[in-house]
Amino acid sequence: MSRYGMVIDTHRCVGCMDCVVACKTENHVPEGYCRDWITEVTRGEFPTLRMEIRTERCNHCDNPPCVHCCPTGASHVHERGGVVLVTKEECIGCKACLAACPYDARFVHPEGYVDKCTFCIHRVEQGLLPACVSVCPTHCMHFGDLDDPLSEVSRLLASRAHHALLPEAGTKPCIYYLT
């Protein structure tokens, strides 16, 4: 089994949002919406500060609450790499999955169905990297198979300190942030 995931080096990320633009053009994300975004967390008081900049998106959780709560099966786990996807033809727009996602990664597309990051599965199936990863000028994002111990992402996780977002929510997120 492969398990797609991302490893993001917060040291390298400058928060330029190139990933956001790339996603928007690649996937025709409508104006005013985004599937990925930048979060800046600053801790401390002037002048002793530290800041983590993260590019965030759907975590394609191993235990995806959005999939569990979907009444129609529109939200599902894709056979390849455990990517969480939404079949727009099956989505009724009940928004339960929006409420179930602790990362607020989903939104309602103006056409009425729920939309979110797909890990650019259409590109991955062609052997390409997700759009955000492929454009990042800082090379802070890495995509690959978390189950393959030889993959770049696995090696990075093995060699560097990292954290995931809200692991306490029990979702088993598949995006890791190197610190």
Binding site: V14, D18, P47, M51, Q126, L150
Partner: protein
């Protein structure tokens, strides 16, 4: 070696990934198809114009519609990856607020009342007015302000016409002081793109430079590489910038006191003998005088000026020395701050000289370029009168034309009157300090022609507005840069202009025809021109068109690689002591003057950039505007509380001259000193045509009514304005 192994690691892992995904699931034939591109997708290689960095990119057109714009892996500047603005190219094409047709003013200037006309009418009108000005005041009475590569074509027609006054805000309002400071020290400019070898730096010092927010692609890529490779970063900035968050040391300096810090650093490095003695002995001139001079500037002396603890000054100086010569004190780019800018830049140059980083790996390289011959145009007529932007060499070290000099001459009519302005792709009202002065100058004109893509503020004052095609819809001059790797890249149209916009070369040529200057145009279409130059350089034009870029052989760029250590200064050496400056009555070694503290209770207005916006011209781009619709005013959290303001409150800024800004939200943050506020430049648009950006955010440019002129080179220092905050109503959402 470390770097190489990292690369290889990436390659290995990429291959692993490929095997895991594609190979496991896709038959080979399908993979090959994927690699060749999707069906119905056409790609065109060209280069970007979201900023002047000009990264090579590949545009994808799917089913006849512009889809996306990606980096060109062959291009040494983009290295296959663009910045957010580059990636947002598609938005520039689809922006609904584009200029669509040539416009001729019908109402009063500045009222934005237009009549749409044909190109023939518009250009005929311009030509007629130009002839009139030439007849009455001479061709030199027409000046041009410009920005970007597209200007070359328009300059050609104006030079043919006899004009001589051409200036870009890029010098006096931007990087001029830096280039002058470095020229006075090393004899050469830092150049653009900068000759900084950030990726190999082991210690990178950023003084007010906010790489990461300032998104010059290659620099940011190299910055990330350096950070990733564990280089020490030292950031001197009143604001906790993105770069500061990557830094080992953040020095939240009191604004305007950078030179005191530089002197104290040099004091520590000289007194503790931490400098590169061999390098200084071999290449330095006047080091003894310099060493004696910096004796006085102890970190203790600098402490009350800068607010930075002496021990921290010492620690950072030692850290720099530890990594030399791979210690790069970045010269910055927009450095027009406090009026001592050229001297401060010289201080930065001298600190680099002490580190021995000029000409060394991890410091400054010697750029190389391809040898592409110019087009064999007939010689231009010699202008009857000299340039007037810097009369009597008032600013003796200004080596480029001064925009503000032309503005002043337009206002005063001296040494000779200026009656016509051509403004190409620069929003002068947001670029030059003191809007009122610019408007006053415009009132003196007989003709103001603006060539632009969007109806910017300056276009609102124009007599004729000529809508240009965006860079995705046109050819342009070849991009032949001085860089680490020599290369030539080509811009070519990806898609048709959606309305009646025209490329600059077409506009220039048509204007030339109407001015009777056809003999300067031996070519009919720009492709002939480009082919002539490319073939002249011995390159394959068809290959260039296909690949977008042709790289030359890598040449040595460091002293170690055999580049001769030449310094084109009067002494032929690195001038720790500048006799040139002394001769002109300036300080031969930089001298620190304390900054004006400003009125009590006010905040110094600082401004900077955001990664997704270029100046004031990307706010109408739907993709980029989505990322940052309007700016916010950064205000220290405690200062905000004192003023009774909360994060997200709406305020207006009032400057020392009573100018009131548009309303803007407060970002109450720990990330800035309490004595200054910060705005991202480019917002607070007032032009009615910029519907998406109109009235969003506050314009720093509008608040910059005061400026200090650098006595060495005429640059206009703009961080000398102070503001207070007044509560404002929240906007009513429609």
């Amino acid at each position: 070696m470390e770097r190489l192994s990292r690369r290889r690691f990436l390659k290995i892992s990429a291959a692993t990934f490929g095997a895991a995904t594609a190979a496991a699931h896709l038959p080979d034939a399908l993979r090959a198809a994927a690699a060749q591109g999707e069906k119905g997708v056409r790609t065109v290689a060209t280069f970007c114009e979201m900023c002047f960095w000009r990264c090579g990119g590949i545009a994808h057109v799917r089913d006849g519609k512009l889809w996306k714009f990606e980096g060109n892996p062959k291009d040494p500047q983009s290295r296959g990856r663009l910045c957010p603005r580059g990636t947002g190219a598609v938005g520039a094409y689809y922006a609904r607020d584009r200029l669509q047709k040539p416009l001729v003013r019908v109402g009063a200037r500045g009222k934005e009342q237009w009549k749409a006309v044909t190109w023939d009418e518009a250009l005929g009108y311009v030509a007629e007015r130009m002839q009139k000005i030439k007849a009455e005041h001479g061709a030199e009475a027409i000046a041009m302000f410009n920005h970007g590569i597209g200007v070359r074509m328009l300059q050609h027609v104006l030079k043919s016409y006899g004009c001589t006054n051409f200036a870009g805000p890029s010098f006096a309002q931007c990087r001029g002081p830096r280039d002058v400071g470095f020229r006075l020290t090393f004899g050469e400019d830092v150049g653009s793109p900068e000759r900084t070898d950030i990726e190999n730096a082991r210690c990178l010092v950023l003084i007010g430079s906010h790489l990461g927010e300032n998104m010059h692609n290659t620099q940011v890529q190299e910055f990330s590489d350096a950070v990733g490779a564990g280089a020490t970063v030292i950031v001197v900035d009143p604001r906790f910038s993105v770069a500061a968050s990557k830094a080992k040391y953040w020095l939240p300096i009191r604004p305007g006191t950078d030179l005191a810090l530089l002197l104290a650093w040099m004091h520590v490095i000289v007194t503790e003998k931490l400098y590169d003695a061999d390098y200084v002995a071999q290449h330095g001139y006047g080091f003894e005088q310099f060493a004696a001079y910096v004796q006085a500037f102890t970190p203790e002396w600098a402490y009350p000026e800068t607010g930075i603890e002496p021990e921290l000054i010492r620690a950072t100086a030692r850290e720099m020395a530890q990594h030399r010569p791979a210690t790069l004190i970045h010269p910055g780019r927009h450095v027009n701050w406090y009026g001592d800018d050229a001297q401060r830049s010289r201080g930065i140059a001298l600190l680099n000289a002490l580190m021995g980083s000029w000409g060394r790996k991890g410091g400054f390289f010697t750029p190389a370029s391809m040898d592409v011959p110019d087009y064999p145009y007939p010689a231009y007529p010699k202008p009857a009168r000299p340039k007037l932007d810097n009369p009597d060499k008032k600013y003796p070290f200004a080596h480029e034309a001064l925009t503000t000099g032309i503005r002043e001459a337009t206002l005063s009519g001296k040494p000779y009157p200026i009656k016509g302005w051509f403004v190409y792709a620069t929003n002068l009202l947001h670029a030059l300090p003191n809007e009122a002065e610019t408007i006053e100058a415009i009132r003196k004109l007989d003709l103001l022609v603006v060539v632009d893509v969007i109806p910017s503020e300056i276009a609102g004052w124009a007599d004729v507005v000529l809508p240009e095609s965006t860079y995705l819809e046109r050819h342009d001059e070849l991009n032949v840069e001085f860089f680490k790797h020599p290369f030539v890249s080509i811009r070519q149209p990806v898609i048709e202009s959606p309305h009646d916009q025209k490329p600059n070369w077409w506009i220039a040529r048509e204007l030339a025809v109407r001015l009777g200057l056809e003999r300067y145009y031996p070519w009919k279409h720009i492709e002939e021109y480009l082919e002539n130059r490319v073939t002249g350089a011995g390159l394959d034009f068809a290959q260039l068109k296909k690949q977008g870029v042709i790289r030359g052989a890598r040449q040595p760029v460091f002293f170690d690689e055999g580049v001769p250590a030449e310094f084109p200064t009067p002494s032929g050496k690195i001038e720790f002591y500048s006799t040139q400056l002394q001769e002109h009555g300036f300080d031969p070694i930089p001298r620190y003057t304390p900054p004006d503290p400003g009125p009590a209770g006010s905040f110094r207005l600082l401004y900077g950039r955001a990664p997704m916006h270029s100046f004031s011209r990307t706010q109408t781009n739907p993709l980029l505007a989505d990322l940052m619709r309007e700016n916010v005013v950064w205000l220290n959290a405690v200062a905000a509380r004192r003023l009774g303001l909360k994060h997200g409150d709406w305020v207006r800024l009032r400057n020392q001259d009573g100018v009131l800004s548009n309303r803007v939200q407060v970002k109450a943050t720990e990330r800035i000193r309490p004595d200054c506020v910060y705005l991202v430049h480019g917002f607070g648009h007032t032009a009615k045509g910029l519907r998406r950006a109109l009235g969003r955010g506050a314009s720093d440019a509008g608040l910059i009514t005061r400026y200090k002129v650098d006595p060495l080179m005429g640059g206009t220092a703009m961080s000398v304005n102070f503001v207070t905050l007044e509560p404002a109503d929240a906007p009513q959402e429609a």
